[in-house]
Amino acid sequence: MTVPFIGKQLKNRTVLASGILGNSKDILERVHEQGCGLVTMKSIGPEPRDGHKNPTVIDLGCGMINAVGLPSPGYQDMEEEWAELESRNFPVNASIYGGSVEEFQRVAKFVSAKGPDFIEINISCPNSEKHGMLFGVNRQSAHDVVSAVKKVIDVPLIAKLTPQAIDIGDIAKACQDAGADAICAINTVGPGMVIDIEAQMPILAFQKGGLSGPMIKPVAVRCVFDIYKAVTIPIIGLGGISTGEDAIEMIMAGASLVGIGSAVRYRGINVFEKVAREMDEWLLSHNTSFKEIHGAAHQQN
């Protein structure tokens, strides 16, 4: 009944996306209790950072736009949270970011010693001036950061990619070659901008922000499809998933696990158990299994 994922057992295929709620052990635990198979922490950075001024997150109806700006206490200033997490009874994925290969490596090494189940490197965030995204659009830099981090950690490494890459399959392959154990795709789309015409200015304080939620699902599905073609390591498919049917679609594109972020807004914090149950019901009513439908959309090619 459990789901194996790089040597660990998860209670189902749903994953909490990084940056959604994951701000403390207590809330991660609650998300787990509400049916989530694997919870991801808010991305942890090399320095304390407040993130951007508000407005930082705006609902657009078909999805949302955000430029939270990678707030983080900084990896060195989270001792209490690490201490609390030590006694956890659920698997945790620690997301990290940095502004250089050296920073990624420094944060990763420190975090790895704190014993998360996985480390996810966010090489895909569009919402800060220098962090992350550049690594995710270039095959060489993606390779460099993954292999540098891989050397210093002793938990599995997940590389989180951006849809802004011209050939995301190629980037994923570079990550796999550099030692990544899984791919997580996608981070937010865009960036986009929403201008308020009465105020005559962008609504987000950072002006631009990443798009998420239902409207980005087609981009996410295409990215997972491309990545599945390019790599053999498992994929966490993420972007616009709100229902069991969305999750099935992502699995047919090639995902092994399905991440959920914005849908917490649309269906509540128990969206995880809802999606997991809807997936099960769909498989049952179609008399099929994960194994049979995994990557099924590739068959006719």
Binding site: I20, N23, S24, P48, L60, R265
Partner: protein
């Protein structure tokens, strides 16, 4: 799937401003917002910042927020004049659960009067209504209600000199049968109110404050223990408060760092 209606800021002009005192202002807007007492809106001053404010007045045609000038944002907000434009998102969160026919006590401290005012206006039954402020000048909404509040001030410039909790305790010991207590004010005050209620086995509803970003339960900025203040709250009941280990102890800074409450408030208020 129940996708909610678009929640971009609704741009509204300040219809009227009332300076309640030199540090408190109430801004009125003309827009028929759906509303339950205790809910809040995110208020955007274009080019500046966006912060949560409770709805302090509501009728068919409009609503108002009442702001205490504390830091950068609120000091700017009380300078807004009639005709100036702000963005409103919401209302968000769960408000108070209103019990008609129960014997109610309402305990407000300072700007904590804001969410409680529309609540008091919905009550028909006799109500114990305690309002505290720093000095006489800071007493909010005198003459607004059909119930006369019992007042207290820190300096004794009006009503009882001392704390709202003194008056609450007195009420509980003199008049029996308070069925429910609603409170809003400084967290340390609310915690004391909660302890008094627990000791007397009176259910209590408190309205909490935390730093907020999204306002709708996604970003995690406002988490307090296992609760999401913007979504599960801001109003919480005794049952939840008992298990909420961060109540009156911890809060997250903008960076997400959890700190002791005095550190959080000194960050906020400096």
């Amino acid at each position: 799937m129940e996708i909610k209606s678009q929640q971009k800021p609704l741009m509204l002009r300040v219809e009227k401003k009332i300076m309640e005192s030199k540090e408190f202002a109430t801004l009125f807007f003309k827009y028929p917002l759906p509303f339950i007492p205790g809910q809040f809106v995110m208020v955007w001053i274009p080019g500046f910042d966006e912060k949560p404010y409770t709805i302090s007045f509501h009728d068919q045609d409009g609503f108002a927020i009442t702001i205490e000038a504390k830091g950068l944002f609120s000091k700017k907000a009380i300078t807004l004049d009639k005709g100036e434009i702000v963005g409103i998102r919401g209302p968000f969160g769960n408000g108070f659960t209103i019990h008609q026919n129960k014997r109610v006590a309402v305990v407000a401290g300072g700007c904590g009067m804001a969410p409680l005012a529309p609540l008091v206006e919905t009550l028909d039954q006799e109500t114990i209504f305690i309002q505290g402020a720093r000095t006489k000048e800071f007493i909010l909404f005198p003459d607004r209600f059909k119930f006369e509040p019992q007042y207290c001030t820190d300096d004794g410039s009006f009503g009882h000199k001392g704390f709202v909790t003194d008056l609450l305790k007195a009420s509980i010991s003199s008049k029996k049968n308070i069925d429910i207590v609603y409170t809003c004010g400084p967290e340390i005050m609310m915690h004391k109110v909660f302890e008094i209620c627990e000791a007397s086995k009176i259910p209590c509803q408190v309205s909490l404050e935390r730093y907020m970003r999204c306002g709708f339960g996604v970003c995690g900025a406002c988490v307090c223990g296992k609760e999401i203040v913007c979504k599960d709250g801001p109003v919480f009941e005794s049952q939840t408060l008992r298990n909420m280990k961060d109540f009156n102890t911890k809060a997250l800074l903008k960076s997400g760092k959890a700190v002791d409450l005095p550190d959080y408030f000194s960050w906020r208020c400096k």
